[in-house]
């Protein structure tokens, strides 16, 4: 039998309603926000409520009463009798098992719910295509503690019903990357064992250090307390996940010549050699003749109100252009641009001013000053074109693209190129090429989405355009964006608006006071500012309410 913990309160000033009710409990009872309680209701039904806030009151009429009770301000006074006090909790109605949303009655009995009832109350019992997204803990710290795995319908995160995931939270404390990786691990686990026609592959951008550059190696837990390893493995087990790290992983790092002092990756030479020996790593290059279409990505951050840059780019990629057709190297291209930027250039009818050419030259020259902009690819030295590799992506493969050490403009260039390739791949543009067999869903994970899709990015940005295409059309095409950022409020509304699943990690009070968090009750907003690492509030169309979930630490190799 469930434990009786209190009774419903209904007064003239605080009535029970269809959406909420209050109930009193013993002031020492441990309850937490998001805990589920069960209330006896009419026709032998039960109404379930999610705790939103708990208040403690005493019979003291005012603060003054308490002050007087310590001999008018003597801080050392101990009272021989404790003041009569009680707790009352405010709960939001989440479900009634007889579909009766008549307000619950005064003095109705309030119980703790069992694991089974919690599952029903949250609507977790009838989830199709279940995909584990963490676990929830109820009645934490009591003898009635319940831990349940939480599943969401994979069709609502990978499409076609709903797609895209947005994770927000401040750096370091929210573990955004870890959560995205946890979900992707769950997805890979499920799709590699499931017997469905659906298939999935992952394209992951590594933006910080070597963080995601060893996701197929096991975590040695060397930085954790002893016993932590067994606890975490058991947690994975209880969620129905394997305890292996990612499988079928390929790494791509920007090419830099072996003689150059400046390397464009945080991997050590030894790591690179090992990966190459295991045929897991390739160095990617951009070749003028194949990648000139992507030059516009270099202008993602540049305001172009007169669209002169755009007209230069279209001139360059024009196959019949008398100046630029036939060029095959970045060097030749730069010479041509330099020529155009000269004063009094002959042969041009002057539709693009010299000043524009100079601006173009300035931006491009800086952008292509990198070894990865090269003349040719040498496959024998593990070199490749990134787009060619992405076209070949197969089911269950994980491609990790390392852009951590690149400057921001080149990061944008690589990201833009990759997203465009994947989008075109799923559009079917490369179907005629041999070896192209894309899986039905491709998940792209990018951290620091604010760099590419913030509200301040110029509207003309080609990368923003790509991202909007993906979020708005990717659901049906099978391109799914998993994105993370510090401040959700900074992200373009059309991007967040199209995400079906939102995970809110720890953030600060300035962020929670923005309009984006307006729909959350105050208690939850405050809770967001003190969530622990590994705790998330998750919103998904299949959940009846926001859920507070936990997820285990990463199972792949960690660099500290």
């Amino acid at each position: 039998m469930s434990k009786l913990i209190g009774r419903v309160l209904a007064t003239e000033k605080n009535p029970t309603t269809m959406d909420e009710f209050n109930f009193w409990t013993n002031s020492d009872l441990k309850l937490h926000a998001f805990d589920i309680v069960k209330v006896e209701h009419i026709e032998n039904t039960y109404t379930f409520g999610v705790i939103e806030n708990i208040s403690h009151i005493t019979d003291a009429q005012s603060f003054l009463t308490n002050f007087i009770s310590s001999d008018f301000g003597d801080v050392d006074i101990e009272e021989p009798t404790l003041r009569v006090g009680m707790n009352y909790a405010k709960a939001k109605v989440s479900f009634n098992n007889g579909n009766l949303y008549t307000p619950v009655h005064n003095n109705a009995k309030v119980y703790l719910a069992t694991a089974e009832e919690i599952t029903i109350a949250l609507g977790l019992d009838r989830i199709q295509n279940p995909l584990v997204c963490g676990s929830l803990k109820m009645y934490e710290g009591t003898s009635e503690e319940v831990i349940l795995p939480v599943h969401l319908n994979s069709k609502f995160i990978l499409g076609p019903e709903g797609a895209h995931l947005n994770i927000s939270g401040i750096s370091g404390l929210a573990a955004k990357t870890s959560y995205a990786m946890f979900l992707m691990k769950a997805i890979q686990d499920q799709y590699s064992s499931a017997d469905t026609e659906d298939s999935v592959a992952f394209v992951i951008f590594n933006v910080k250090g070597r963080d995601l550059m060893a996701i197929d190696r096991t975590n040695d837990f060397s930085a954790d307390a002893p016993g932590e390893r067994d606890r975490i493995l058991a947690e994975y087990d209880s969620l129905g996940l394997s305890t292996d790290p990612f499988k079928n992983v390929k790494y791509y790092i920007p090419y830099s010549s072996s003689t150059s002092a400046k390397q464009s990756t945080y991997l050590t030479k030894g790591d690179i050699e090992n990966y190459i020996a295991a045929v897991q790593l390739k160095k990617f290059k951009y070749i003028y003749s194949d990648d000139k279409e992507n030059i516009e990505m270099m202008f993602a951050d540049i305001d172009d109100p007169a669209q002169t840059m755009e007209s230069i780019v279209s001139k360059i990629i024009d196959k019949d252009d008398k100046d630029f057709s036939g060029l095959s190297t970045w060097g030749g291209f730069m010479d041509k641009v330099a020529e155009k930027a000269q004063k009094g250039t002959a042969g041009d009818k002057g539709d693009i001013s010299v000043l524009s050419w100079r601006k173009f030259k300035r931006v491009v020259r800086k952008a292509i000053q990198d070894d990865m902009f090269a003349n040719a690819v040498n496959p024998t030295k593990a070199e490749c074109r990134l787009a060619d590799e992405l076209k070949q992506i197969r089911r269950n493969e994980v491609c990790v693209i390392d852009i951590a050490k690149l400057p921001e403009d080149k990061q944008a260039f690589v990201f833009g190129d990759a997203v465009r390739t994947i989008y075109n791949l799923k559009l079917g543009e490369y179907d005629a090429e041999s070896g192209v067999e894309p899986p039905s869903r491709i998940i792209v994970f990018i951290d620091e989405l604010n760099k590419y899709a913030s509200k301040d990015i110029p509207k003309t940005s080609p990368i923003l355009r790509e991202i909007l295409d993906v979020t708005e059309r990717g659901r049906s095409l099978g391109v799914v964006l998993f994105a993370a950022e510090q401040f959700r409020s900074a992200i373009h509304d059309r991007v967040t608006g199209n995400c079906a699943t939102h995970a809110y990690g720890r953030t600060n009070s300035i962020e929670t006071s923005t309009r984006d968090y307006g729909s959350l009750p105050n208690t939850y907003k405050n809770m967001l500012t003190r969530l622990e690492q590994g705790d998330y509030l998750v919103q998904n169309p299949v959940f009846r309410s926001l859920l507070k979930i936990k997820f285990p630490k990463p199972i792949y190799k960690q660099f500290k």
Binding site: A60, Q61, L64, E79, P80, T81, L82
Partner: protein, 396 residues
Amino acid sequence: MSSSADANRKRDKIMNTLADITGGKSYKAHKYGLDHTDRPAVDYGDSEIIWKRRAETTPHKTYVDLSPLGKKLASREDQVLAYFLDGSRRVFKVDDISYPQSGGRSIIYPVIAGQIGVGCCRRVCRKVVPVKFKQEFVLSMPDVADADGKPGFWPATAKKLSECDELKRVGIEFSTILPYKTSKNEDKKFEDRATACVQARMIEREKELVAELVREGRLNQDNYLVKDGSLEYRPTKEDKNDKKKYQTFKNNYNWVISASKNFNPEVCEDINGKPNPGFIADLPLCHRTPVAEYENPMLGDIKFAVWYIRLRDTKQTRTPFDGILKIEKILVTGEENDGGIDSELVDTLSAYLMNERNPVCYGSDLRWANHIYPVYLTESYVKSRYLSAESFLHLF
């Protein structure tokens, strides 16, 4: 036929039934509560109190400072004040009823109804929990309503009344009907006479509850009972007749002290034996007066020890008598009767009581300065159990 008679009876209010039984005429007069009017005292005069000698083992001449002992006791976290008792009553004038007198005249008398509640709470781990509660509904009628004057008339009437459907429906019983005196030689109003009867009944119930606590072995030197209000109990005639019973009655009070919020400052004597209210008014904070002893012939040969404690500084109260508690204890043993109470015990009890000054019920009760919190809680508990005035008055 019988069903319509039933229906008639069902509609019968109490007053109709009462008028039927007693042969009076009910006037269906205005019904109202009497509690907010002046609170009549039990009718024995203050003047009858006889102040006697000092009643403690150390003959203090002036105030005794309790603060060092109070601090010491507060730091030790043990407690001897464990039980708290409060009785309260609510009286209502529910009707006027007339009875014929000689010469064809009739006189109108008020009918008074009262709710009596007596509750006891215990303090466990600094929390106050209810232990006992007694509730009673009583009526007070003029003595002339008993036309024959035969014993057993009132209990029989009460019983008959309780069979009335109206009462059965709401599950209420009148336990007794208290006749008030209608003789003209007293100048008190009939209402006040009736109220005094209800008050006396309440005190009777309080006594029973104390006796019950003693019988159950709850009270001892580590578990004192603090009673709200005066200890001036009158032993009943039966008490006095049976010597053994009388001693039991006194023994019941060995572990009982009373704390009164209201007292008549005129009946305090100073060290010279003269009434001197100033002596109490000037009582410094956290001090007590010496213990005095008095006897009240109305209350039999019981001797009372009485002293006063100041809980609140006069700076923070409205009048100099606010913040002072009057403490009474019955002198039970022969030793006590001869030499007075042990001064150490008085000091200890006083210090414990003084520590009860916090928390306060400021804001909830105007008498906060004189209230001690566990008693206030007991009182709130008792009052919370009353039938609401509307529901109660609707019975008549």
